[in-house]
Symmetry: C3
C-alpha cells in the first residue's frame, strides 16, 4: 500500500510495514543527501503553525528544501488573517489550492484530523494540543531502531510528565505496535491519561500492571515506576509483582525517555510535583544498571535533563533531532508520491472496528480543548464518536480521542412510529445493553433527551434518585 | 504595451487588454503547471505585509515558487526594524536592492503608490487600508470570465459591507471597465463611499440610480438593493424606477458577491447593522431567481455566508481562491519580463485627465488613514491632488483617492508682484470658478492662507458669517 | 587560509587579506549575478533572529537565494519554542542538524560566540546586543573601498550615538585594521565605551587624542569632535592639538558616518542629548570642506540624516545597503566552501596574545547584558576572560568583550598544600603584580574568596578601610 495522498494524523495511520519503509528510505537518503535535491522540485509544502514551535517547523522545512521543494509558512498565528475567525475547514480548502502538502500544528486537539478531512492534499499532524505528534514518534523509533537494531522486546522507561506530552502519547502506541515493553515513571499527578491506557490494552493487546505509589517513598538514585506494559506475545521478561517494579527499572532498561515538564499547562500542584522528580544526570545514570541505557528526549529540555549528559555516548537527544530531517524527507517524498517503496509484510496488530455514533446531537466530547468545542468550528462540525465500550457505555471522540460516558440512552427501535414509547433510560441500566449500536441514541443530559421528545423511562433514574423523587 | 517593470497599485493601472492578456496566460499556465517551474529561477520576490494576512501572502508566495523563484518575506510587522520608525520611501529603496519585485500590504491608504514611487523594481499592491486590492479583483474577474464566458452585460449584486472592503472598491471599477452592471446591496450604514461612486460615474460613464431605503422594510428572503449602476452602451436591461430595484434583484442576477463584515473597523451602530443583514444560505438561494446565480466571496468569511452553501455547484469562493495562484503567476511573470504576451486591442474607457494640485501646502487630505498623514512620511512627502471638480471645488488625493473640498482659494495671477492683491476667497464664491487650474492656490483654513501672506478678500466669508462679523 | 567552516563573530575573525578576498569575490559576483544562481543549490541557511530586524535578515536571505540556496528562518522569537527556555547551546546543536550555515541576531552580548562554540556548522554574527555586527562593517568597508579606492590614510568621522551602536563598534576596529584615521563626534553622553578605545589602541596600535568638550559650545554648522585616532605608520596628517580637532573636522574628511540614535536603549539624559546633535543635511554639508565627503549610514535612519541628502551624489547609504547582497553572497559562498579564493598577503596587525582566566568562579562579567548572566545559560556556561592588563588588573570577557576589574586576588603558588597560607589581597596591592597569570585566582567579592577557603591577607584592605577596621 502506498503513502501517496494519505494523511498522517496519528501514529495509528501507519502500519509497521509503512513505518519500516519510511526508515529504510530515510537510511538511503541520509547516505546520499545531495542526490535528493531536486526530487520535489516544483512542489510546495505549507507549514501552518498555530503554536510557538521552531524545531518541528524548521525540521520539516529543511526536509522539504533538501528535496528541492519550496515552502510557504505561517509561523505566527497572530500575523495571519486566520485570526479573523476563519474555520479550519475553510483554511483546509484554501491552502489545498496553494500547497501540495500541509503540515499543521494547532493547540486544539483533533485539529489535524479536521484539517485532513477537508483538505484535498495530504496533511501531516505536527502536534495537535495534547493529542498526538506522530512525526516526533517516527524520529524516536528511528533512533531506537538504528541504535538497538530491534525494537521488539526492548524495555523503555517513560519519565516525568506523561500527562500533557503529546509526544509521549504517540510514542506509547508506536512502542506497543512494535512489541516493546514500557515502564511508566510519571511524576506524581502527571500520569498517563486513563483513555490512553485503555486504548493501549484494548487495541494493541498486551498487559498493564499498575502500582499505587501512595505510601512508597522514592529512593534517592532511582526513578519511580507506577505501571508496566508488557507487549503481547512477549516472553514474560518482567517480574509482574507490583513491588518489583522499581527493581525492574533497576534491572536495566534499554531507554530512559525523558520529557520536559509542560509547565505552561500545569496546575499549581503539578508544578510542585515536577520539582521533586529526579533529574537525569551523570550521578543518576552512573549506576551499573544504566550502563547501556540510552537517554532520549524530544527536546527542548529545561531542568529535567542535566547538561553533564551532553557528551555522554548514551545520550541520543541531539541525534534524535538531527535524524528528524531524513525521516521527514522520506515521509514527504512518499506522501507526495515522488518515491514509492515496497512495503514489507504487515506486522501491525489488527485494529478494533468500533461502531460509530454520528447522530450529531445528544453527546458532546468531554474535552474542552477538543476541536468540536470551538466557536469557529461548531457551525459546521458535528461531534462523532467511536463506541468503544457498552459496559459502561463509553464513546471516544474521533477527533481528540478523549473518552466520554453518556448518561442516558434511547433506541430508535423502541419508538418506531409510536410517540408514547419515546423513552430514555440510564446508560448503566440493563436496558441500555440491549440496544444495537445502529439504533443507539445517547444523551449527556436529561434536558436534552426531553428537548428531542423523549420522556424519562422506568430506568431513567438511579435507585437513589428514584427514592428521593418518590418521597 | 508590456507589463514589464510596471506597478500595479490600483485596478486602473491595467487596461482591459492587459487584464485579458493576464487571464490568457493564467489559462495556459494552469494547463501546464509543472512546465512553469524554472521560468523565474534566480528571481526574488519580497512579500512585505504590515497587516495580518495569510491567504494573499501565501497565494503570492506559492505563485512565485511555482515559477521557480525565491521569496523573502516580512510576515509580521512587529518583527521588523521597520518598527524603528523607518519611512516607506526608505524601505522602498532598500528592498529594491534586494528583490526583483515587491508585494506590499499596508494599513495606510496610499502606501502602495508611495512604495511604487520610490522603488526601482515593480510593486504590487496587496491591499492598502480600505483603498484597493487589485489582485483580488483580478481573481474575481477571472472566475467570472471562466464561469460565464462574458463579463459585459452581466448583473452583479454586491452585498453586505460595501464601506470598508477594499476588495469591493477595486471590483466596482473593474466591473464598470468591463461593462458589467452592478446592484449595490449594502447593510444599512455600510454603503459604498461617496467618492467611489462619484469616480465611477465620472470616469467610467454609465448611470447610477439610488433609492432611499429609510422607510422600506427588507422583505424576508430578499437582499435589499439601494442603488444600481448601468454600464454605458448597455441595452437598458434594468428597470430604472427605484421602487423596482428589489424586483430587479429578484429578476435574477449573475453573481451574488458577499464580503465579510470588517467588524474590526466598525462603529457600534455598524456592528448592530451587520447583525440584521440576510445570511447567504441555501434557504435564501433556493428561490428560482437565483437558480443560475454564482455565489462569490473573497474570504475569509465569518457568518455572512453559510456552510450549507459549500458543496453547492453555484458556490465559487474556493475556486476564486485557488485561481489566485495561476492569475498571480501570470502577473508576476509578465511584470518580471519573463513572459511577453500580445495584448489585444484596447477596450478600456478613456481616463479623465484631471489637472494636478501639487503646491505642497494649503490643503491636507481629508482621510486620516492616508499615508500623507503619517509621522514617518510627513518629513519628505508633500500632499498632491487631482482637481476633479470646480463646482464644488473638489480635490482627490493621488495616494488614497479620498475626496477633499478646500474651503478657500486664491490665484497666482491676482497678485503678480502686488502684495496688496494677495487675497483669498471662499472656494464656493463665483470668483473661484474663474481661476485657471495652473494658478490655483487652495486652503483648508483661513489661518493657513494668512500664514502664507494672503488677506481675506470680499468673498472670504459666507453671507451669514459676514452678517455676524459686521454686527 | 580558507574561510570554509569558519565562524564570523567579530570583525577580528577576518584578516585584511580575507576581507579583501571577500570584496574581490563580491565584485565578480556583482558583475555576473545570474551566473551565481545554483552555486549553493541544496544548501540550507538558517536565519535566527531574536531581535526585530528586516534589513539584515532580508539581505542575508536574498544573498542565499541569489546563490540558489534555501533558507529556514525564525523571524520572530515569540513564535518559537525557544521561548520555552531553551539554551543557546542546545539551539546551536539542534540547528546544526538542519542547516549548513547559521546567521544569528540576538539581544545578548556574546550570544554569537556561544552559538559558534556549540554549533557544528559556520555561524555568522548578525548583531549581538551592543557588541558587534561584522557583516554591516564589511558592507561599509566595501563601499568605502569602491568609492575611494584606498582605505589606508582616509579620515572617517563617526557621528552621533557612538555608545550603543554595535555597527560603530565593529567599524572602529575594521578602520584601524586597514589604517584609516578616525574622528569621534559623539553626541554628549553617547561616547564610545572605554573598553573599546582601550582595545583599539592596545591591539591595533596608533594613537588616540581626546578633548574635553565640557566648556566648548558646538558652533552652528559644525559637528563636534571629542577624540581622534591616528592609525599607526601614518604620516601625521592630523594636527594633534586638541583645540584643533574641530578645525580638523572642517579641514575635510573622507566620510561622515552617521548612525541612528538607539533611543530604545537610552536613559532620559541621553534622549535629551540626542536632540541637540546637528542633523546631517544639505545646509550642513554645503560648506566647501565637505565637497568630496561621502555620507554613510547603516540605516534605518530617523531624524539624524535629512531626506534632502537622498539624491545627493555624496550620499552612499542606499548603495551601502544594496551592496550588502554581493558582499554577503561572497561571504556565504566562501564559508560554505563553494568558492575558494586566493588570499593576498596578510596585512593584519598582529593580535595580542593575552593569558586566559577560566577558573569559572570568583569573577563575573561586569555587563548584565552579557550572555554569561542569563538564566538559561548559567547552567552550563562558565565565565571566561582574557587578562588584558595587570595594572590595574583588568579582565575582558571572551563573550561580550566588556572589561571587568576584579577587586581581590590570590595565587595558587602561595598555598600549595598549606591551608594557612590561603590568603587574598587587594588586586591593586603590590603583591598582585607578582602573581603569574597561570596561578592567578581573582575575586569580585571578599565573601566569595572566603567561601573558597581564603582568609584576608595583610593587603586585603585599602589603607582607608584598614584604618576604619582598626578603630
Amino acid at each position: 500500500m502506498s503513502l501517496t495522498n494519505r494523511d498522517l494524523v496519528t501514529i495509528d495511520d501507519l502500519t509497521n510495514g509503512e513505518i519500516e519503509s519510511i526508515f529504510s528510505l530515510a537510511d538511503k537518503m541520509s547516505d546520499a543527501m545531495p542526490q535528493q535535491y531536486g526530487l520535489c522540485h516544483g512542489k510546495v509544502m505549507a507549514t501552518i503553525f498555530f503554536e510557538p514551535s521552531t524545531r518541528t517547523r524548521l525540521s520539516f522545512e529543511t526536509a522539504m528544501h533538501r528535496l528541492g521543494g519550496s515552502v510557504i509558512s505561517v509561523a505566527d498565528p497572530k500575523s495571519t488573517s486566520f485570526s479573523k475567525g476563519e474555520s479550519i475547514a475553510d483554511m483546509a480548502r484554501i491552502i489545498s489550492g496553494y500547497a501540495d502538502i500541509i503540515v499543521l500544528r494547532h493547540p486544539w486537539e483533533g485539529a489535524a484530523k479536521l484539517m485532513a478531512d477537508y483538505a484535498s492534499v495530504p496533511v501531516i499532524n505536527a502536534g495537535d494540543g495534547g493529542h498526538q505528534h506522530p512525526t516526533q514518534t517516527l524520529c524516536d523509533l528511528y533512533t531506537l531502531k538504528k541504535e538497538r537494531g530491534e525494537i521488539r522486546g526492548s524495555k523503555i522507561a517513560l519519565c516525568g510528565d506523561l500527562k500533557y506530552g503529546r509526544t509521549i502519547h504517540s510514542l506509547i502506541f508506536a512502542l506497543a505496535k512494535f512489541g516493546a515493553n514500557i515502564l511508566f515513571c510519571p511524576s506524581a499527578g502527571l500520569e498517563v491519561p486513563e483513555n490512553i491506557l485503555r486504548k493501549l490494552v484494548t487495541e494493541y493487546g498486551g498487559e498493564l500492571e499498575k502500582i499505587s505509589r501512595n505510601h512508597r517513598p522514592v529512593k534517592p538514585g532511582t526513578i519511580p515506576v507506577d505501571a508496566a506494559y508488557i507487549a503481547p506475545n512477549q516472553p514474560h521478561q518482567l517480574a509482574m509483582m507490583p513491588v518489583d517494579l522499581d527493581v525492574e527499572m533497576k534491572a536495566g532498561v534499554d531507554v530512559v525517555y525523558v520529557t520536559r515538564f509542560q509547565k505552561e499547562r500545569f496546575t499549581n500542584e503539578e508544578i510542585e510535583s515536577g520539582q521533586h522528580f529526579p533529574v537525569i544526570d551523570q550521578k543518576l545514570m552512573s549506576s551499573k544498571e544504566f550502563k547501556k541505557t540510552l537517554v532520549m528526549h524530544p527536546l527542548p529540555r529545561v531542568d529535567e535533563l542535566a547538561y553533564d549528559m551532553d557528551t555522554d555516548p548514551r545520550s541520543m537527544y541531539f541525534k534524535q533531532a538531527a535524524r528528524g530531517v531524513p525521516v521527514r524527507m522520506a515521509l514527504i517524498a512518499q506522501m507526495l508520491g515522488m518515491k514509492e517503496t515496497s512495503v514489507p509484510e504487515e506486522t501491525v496488530l489488527p485494529k478494533v472496528d468500533y461502531p460509530i455514533y454520528r447522530r450529531g446531537y445528544g453527546v458532546k466530547c468531554s474535552n474542552s480543548r477538543c476541536v468540536t468545542w470551538q466557536d469557529t468550528e461548531k457551525n459546521y462540525l458535528k461531534p462523532e464518536f467511536k463506541i468503544v465500550s457498552f459496559d459502561p457505555l463509553t464513546f471516544r471522540c474521533v477527533y481528540c480521542e478523549h473518552g466520554t460516558e453518556p448518561k442516558y440512552v434511547a433506541s430508535t427501535e423502541w419508538h418506531q412510529g409510536m410517540v408514547e414509547s419515546k423513552k430514555y433510560h440510564l446508560a448503566n441500566s440493563h436496558l441500555a445493553k440491549k440496544i444495537k449500536p445502529e439504533n443507539l441514541i445517547a444523551f449527556d443530559l436529561a434536558e436534552e433527551a426531553e428537548a428531542h421528545g423523549f420522556k424519562p423511562g422506568y430506568y431513567a433514574h438511579s435507585p437513589v434518585e428514584k427514592e428521593k423523587t418518590e418521597k
